[in-house]
Symmetry: C2
């Protein structure tokens, strides 16, 4: 008979502790907002040393399942979008994902984002978009970098659509893809203006609650981005991180 190699991991105490706590959070025994006992109490009730508890807490903390609002309080919490997406972004960068890979996904997802925004955006979301747009135009006039504001615009559009699955999925892709503006803008003078026109049209369509127009403009906007990259002679297949010389905050 063939013996299938089963890699068995020894369960360490700190992993058991964090797994147990995670299970209790997932099945609802512990709810977001609940406060956990102090480390000494935890150590006692789980029958392990405080150091062990601490290592377990580090895991849960890193997964966003618990958080310290103040140094003395340890509460159960929902993972924050930013924690998830920043990890995701880092992974994509480390994997040397290419412009084209990101662009393909963006072309599929950003038009949906605009469409949903046109269907579901409330007044606050619209105001946020206006604000972003105004800052984008001012920054462009002043010759400042638009990358951060551009990224923010697309994030805000996604937020306006009220679809959290979409927001989580697109954030890292948008962040990395639009960071390509950093290298594109100096090489293609017209790009910034085209960007402003597109954003204006998208906001107008969202305000008019016109999903089709919003979707179409967003699609063109994304297609245009690739065209700009090609015109500027930038490589579509190269890792996106290779295009960037400056780090972000």
């Amino acid at each position: 008979m063939t013996l299938k190699p089963k890699k068995l991991r020894v369960a360490h105490a700190y992993e058991l502790f964090s797994a147990e706590l995670e299970a209790q959070i997932l099945d609802g025994t512990l709810r977001p907002g609940d406060q956990l006992p102090g480390e000494i109490d935890l150590a006692e009730s789980f029958g392990v040393n405080r150091s062990t508890i601490r290592e377990g807490i580090r895991l849960l903390e890193s997964e966003g399942l618990v958080r310290r609002p103040s140094p003395r309080k340890l509460v159960v919490s929902l993972p924050r979008a930013k924690d998830l997406t920043s990890r995701h972004t880092r992974a994509l960068r480390m994997l040397d994902v290419s412009f084209l890979e990101l662009w393909h996904v963006a072309l599929a997802i950003e038009p949906l984002s605009a469409e949903l925004a046109a269907r579901f955006a409330g007044p606050e979301a619209l105001a946020a978009l206006d604000d972003t747009q105004e800052r984008l135009e001012r920054a462009t006039e002043a010759g400042q970098s638009q990358v951060a504001i551009d990224t923010e615009f697309h994030d805000k559009v996604a937020t306006a659509g009220n679809n959290r699955a979409l927001q989580l999925a697109r954030e890292p892709i948008g962040f990395l893809l639009y960071s390509g503006m950093e290298v594109l803008a100096p090489r293609l003078p017209g790009a910034a203006d085209r960007q402003i026109v597109a954003h204006r049209a998208i906001i107008a369509a969202i305000r008019a609650q016109d999903p089709d127009t919003a979707r179409t403009w967003m699609r063109r906007h994304i297609e245009d981005f690739k065209r700009g990259f090609e015109l500027a002679g930038l490589p579509l297949d190269a890792p996106i991180s290779a295009c960037r010389t400056t780090g972000e905050a």
Copy 2:
């Protein structure tokens, strides 16, 4: 003047350590595969206690930046897709994301996945798809649950497209969405057969390197899924996790 509230976090030693190591990994000073010194050496070279180093290692480990291939070795590594997506999945579930939210994203992304598969799939990917399909049909005949295999099929299609950004973005959505089959199948007897037909057509289009057909079939397949949900009288707006009564492995 208004005083903008700036929340200042005290930097803890274990965070500083993990941040420092992370920075060295990101800027290439440490490369995936590199082996790190032992905890005692690390503690010495960073001028902190071993316990502090351990807590920092827990963070990095949890983020997938370092790994222990054997209990004695600590190596720098690329974050694994599974770590990222499982977190993502858990977050979506905890957020009580609705069927409709997931479905919207799937409708945008799965056709792209099929299209890319038709353009870039190699022979191994096709073989993997065939294998999955065979197991799906056998499981259906035997009356077993198709959920896991259905999810696997869509994953394999995405894998075949060779786009890692796409794979990372869609995995959690697919996992949660297709888990809806669990409740759908018993209520809609024809669903399983329609699924098999669609999967067959998608595989055929991928094999024929016909992106348009692949995309169209996938689109229909996803649209069909929602129709099934409606026919079965299942709520589209309810949290997806509420539909599931059984836990998965």
